[in-house]
């Protein structure tokens, strides 16, 4: 059944979109990620113009993050203070990102930049996660004890920066500079790639800031909701590239898929989940990298107000 997207101005198959949303929702429920990093490339592979795919991806991320954050809010596994500081940085980064986004679009280099960012970020995050999780799997097999992510007592250069602030829920006393910097970096990526940025935020909070793992996901989701909301509103205002019909169909698929994904996720161990997620992230990076380096079928492309 076809559905006409009023902003993208084209007709697409509603079942393909629902399946796409459900598949990504399944994975996001399973791994506890927003899934924006999968939705945007999938939409681009499905011939949705990249500008619309990115802005609509940000809109879709709100739904899945909101659903997840509610659960963490109920369990109290959410550090509001840390989330708010991250959010301040996020708004800053997102504003810069949206400006860069329209600049690149005018230069005709937006697709390239989006692909490059995806390849570099997904490739490095995926690679690191894979190494870490494979090691964890080996350790847990050898010793029989569950692997722990956090190594307390270890301090790095980040903990020597000035402007320190206390975050009670996270039992942290760190400088606000890396927190705002991290928020800004994620906000920038959110507006250019249409992702929530959880796949970078979560490891960065754990490994760089040493935030306890139990509050990491909730806090990350909390700030993603607001950054994605801000990104959506600014894209809608400045570029008119948010297609609610497209976003809504994806959300419906995503919400349903996420329920089954969460059930499937409970059957797997943490390090196995991380290894699988790493493989998935690497696969997306490879697919996008492949398009970048292999001679395209046609060298020419059209761009204009209505393409």
């Amino acid at each position: 059944m076809g559905i006409y997207l009023p902003i993208a101005e084209l007709s697409v198959n509603v079942f393909v979109l629902l399946a796409m949303g459900a598949a990504v929702g399944f994975l996001s429920g399973m791994f506890g990620v927003g899934g924006g990093f999968l939705i945007t490339p999938l939409l681009i592979f499905y011939n949705i113009p990249p500008a619309i795919a990115v802005a609509t991806g940000a809109n879709q991320v709100i739904a899945s993050s909101f659903s997840g954050a509610l659960a963490h809010f109920k369990r109290g596994t959410l550090d509001f203070k840390l989330g708010t500081v991250l959010l301040g940085g996020g708004i800053l980064g997102s504003t810069v990102g949206i400006y860069v986004f329209s600049l690149l679009r005018d230069l005709g280099q937006l697709d390239l930049f989006i692909s490059l960012l995806y390849v570099v970020l997904l490739g490095s995050v995926g690679g690191l996660m894979l190494v870490e999780s494979v090691n964890a799997i080996r350790v847990s097999r050898g010793a029989g004890a569950p692997a722990t992510l956090k190594r307390p007592g270890q301090h790095n250069w980040i903990h020597r920066l000035p402007l320190k602030m206390r975050f009670r829920a996270s039992k942290l006393f760190v400088s606000v500079i890396p927190v705002i910097g991290l928020g800004a970096a994620i906000g920038f990526l959110s507006s250019i790639m249409g992702v929530g940025g959880g796949f970078i935020m979560v490891p960065a909070l754990i490994y760089l800031l040493k935030v306890p793992t139990n509050v990491v996901v909730g806090t990350s989701l909390f700030q993603i909701i607001f950054v994605a909301a801000y990104t959506t509103i600014v894209h809608a205002t400045a570029n008119q590239t948010v297609d609610v019909v497209l976003a809504f169909v994806l959300m419906v698929g995503g919400v349903i898929g996420a329920q089954y994904g969460a059930k499937a996720g409970q059957k797997l161990r943490g390090e196995q989940l991380r290894a699988l997620l790493a493989l998935l992230v690497l696969a997306v990076a490879l697919r996008l990298g492949f398009d970048l380096f292999v001679r395209p079928v046609t060298l020419f492309s059209l761009a204009g107000p209505d393409i």
Partner: protein, 261 residues
Amino acid sequence: MAAVATFVLGLAMLPAAAQDPRQTMNPESIQIGLSTDRVAITADFTGADLTIFGSLENADPLINRQGRYDVIVVLEGPSRSIVVRKKDRLLGMWINMESETFLNVPVSYSVATTRVPQDITDPNNYRQLALGAENLHIEPQDKEGNPATLKEFEQALRERKTALGLFNMRVGGVEFLSQSLFRASLPLGPNVPVGTHKARAFLFRNGVFIKENSAQLAIVKSGFEQSLARFASNHGFSYGILATLLAMLTGWLGRVLFRKD
């Protein structure tokens, strides 16, 4: 649902001349009329066939019997400027490098003919009439540019438009229903541009161009799609806020419906 809607765009039948045309020397002419001047794109739009009826006036019965009258119907979409970009290799990656801008390019261009174009008339005539996607006059923004490059980009523009289904041709898309009445059917793709389209009919007799007639057609988004698109472009900020609230509502509903904890 692959249903293809058919919009019947009217019927302008005028009584065929009763007199012997060879005596009165009345020139042949062609008429097309649209019974509706708007086609609305609804939520379930997946493309459609557009049917245009038309009539031939003062036709010479002898030529008609020999089948030497030919009709070409063109539906030309609204014109926009368009950027054509070419990828080149840089550091092993394929990156958009050169670009050319063309002005007033019709977003879509559909052609229906009574038979294969080369059997109707010769290429020179098509060129003079600027008829057919390959003869469309495409104006580059940079008129002093290298002619070879411009030609290459112009060719690429036509090829990409054809690949996207926006430029297309239906040989046999025009059929004579009687001596004077014909029917043209043109495809409207799922990505048909909204705006004012121009339908033009060209009449040929024995390979000689006789007459042209045209009519206008507005393709618009239907009620909901139109209001939404207009809201998005006029009130982007409120639209963004509503899109955000809708996402939160969906996320919350999903939680309520599938509560796990």
